[in-house]
């Protein structure tokens, strides 16, 4: 089962990258998708490097966490429109990166779940801020026509799904629990990558479907009398 999940997971990890380059003309113009592409490439790279350098896997995981936080913060920075919120994102993310670097310097060889948990909570908070903004100032006629929505939804589902897994990472010592962790993680990774793929697929298609009431009135200029 795990092998199957890892094969499917690998396919869905590559899928956003493939779609990005297939629709390069449109996707390359959108900054958040460029960051997303970079993130997907980084996930792939970290997976490969962790399997090659098994002895330094924890260190690599830490470095990856820092990069992940930086990239996700950039995505949220680009997705959120309010300047004040953007400033808060920069500030909190900088603090968090600093905190992670400190942990990286003083860390033991064990996987540090607190930092991962903190990143997950931070990303979930950013997601809620994004949704709140979308409720108050909708950008698109229908929210799921926006690529930003799918990026954020991917992040939200992934982090909310894996939050408890991260929380209990330290308690899962035997192999059964470890495989459970890997299986659940792989499943949510797949869901996240599907959402990212949808975001890349729909990006640039809805440019003209901004808020307009004209579609409600097919003949607005009827004769007055």
């Amino acid at each position: 089962m795990l092998t199957f999940l890892s094969i499917v997971g690998l396919f869905f990890e590559i899928l956003p990258l493939i779609l990005f380059f297939v629709r390069f003309k449109k996707t390359a113009k959108i900054p958040e998708l460029r960051v997303l592409c970079f993130y997907t490439a980084l996930v792939l790279l970290s997976g490969i490097s962790a399997s090659i350098f098994r002895n330094n896997a924890v260190f690599l995981l830490h470095v990856f966490s820092i990069c992940e936080l930086f990239l996700f913060s950039s995505i949220f920075y680009l997705c959120i429109r309010r300047d004040n919120t953007r400033r808060v994102i920069i500030f909190i993310s900088c603090l968090m990166v600093l905190f992670l670097i400190i942990i990286l310097i003083f860390s033991t060889t064990r996987f540090d779940f607190i930092s991962t948990l903190a990143i997950a909570l931070l990303i979930l908070t950013y997601s809620i801020i994004f949704y709140y903004e979308q409720i108050n100032q909708p950008e698109e006629l229908i929210i799921y026509q926006s690529h930003k929505f799918w990026i954020v939804t991917g992040c939200t589902i992934f982090y909310s799904g894996t939050l408890f897994i991260f929380l209990y990472t330290s308690d899962m010592k035997d192999k059964t629990h470890s495989s459970l962790w890997e299986g659940a993680n792989a499943t949510f990774e797949i869901i996240k990558n599907i959402c990212f793929s949808i975001a890349i697929l729909i990006a640039g298609r809805n440019a003209n479907k901004h808020l307009s009431f004209e579609s409600y009135d097919t003949n607005p200029f009827e004769t007055p009398f």
Binding site: I128, Y131, Q134, I135, P138, L141, I142, I143, Y144, T153, T156, I157, S160, G161, T162, L163, F164, I165, L167, Y168, S170, D171, M172, K173, D174, H177, L180, A184, L211, F213, Y216, D217, P220, P224, F225
Partner: protein, 276 residues
Amino acid sequence: MIFLQISGNNVPMVLFFGTIAMLGLTIGLIVFIIFHQRKVIRFQMQLQKMEYDQQKMLLNASIKLQEEERQRIAADLHDDAGPLLATARLYLNENLVNLDKTTQLQSIYNAKQIIDDTIQLIRNISHSLMPPTLKNFGLESAVNDLFQKISSSGSMNATARFHDYRERLQPETELIIFRVIQELVNNILKHSNASFIHLTQNTNNNKFFVRLHHDGRGLTQADFDKLNKSSVGLGLKNIQSRLRVLHGKIFFEKDISQTYFKVTIELIKENSNASS
């Protein structure tokens, strides 16, 4: 950290239910956002559509009024000026046929009289289109002139007092305000059965106010809004569309004493020199 100190055997259960709960919450949140946003957008669309319908109605009213005005001018020219000029032509034609000096002089005199009448008629039409007093002397004089005519008819006492009108407004603005006042006064004369109309003008905080008081049957803001949304009340719609050009507002209310009705026109005062 008590939560984290659960024994190893319970971990998968907590993990499973915790993950399910978190996922449920997240999906619930996303679904809620989608539905809420659609609801909000639908509401905004309805508002926009209502505004659009209102604008369409105002536009229709103004086009209709313009057509009525054209018809009136056409009727005046066709029914009054046309026959007068035709009669003058007949008199002048008679000069060619009848060579008697006295008859010729008489017909020339008659033709002159008719042409004078026609000139007066055309002047009246022209004045109704653009009052010369308004053009030459401004809003205050034009309103006073209008009110004097109403008072002299004896049916109603009309007075006007301009408190702060040292500088004239832009000609287009003055014309629009005058037309609005004319329409309001016309409505009062037709429907209110009032015994007096009193107009006051004032400025405050770069705003220009004109207020009409009368003691007859009047409108409240609710009546005005209702009439504005219905297909009747062409004159009121026209007032609204004229004021919209100036980004002005109009308020209909009953006096605190419940004896008088008040109509207040509020406009942002523009510097005529700067804008010209």
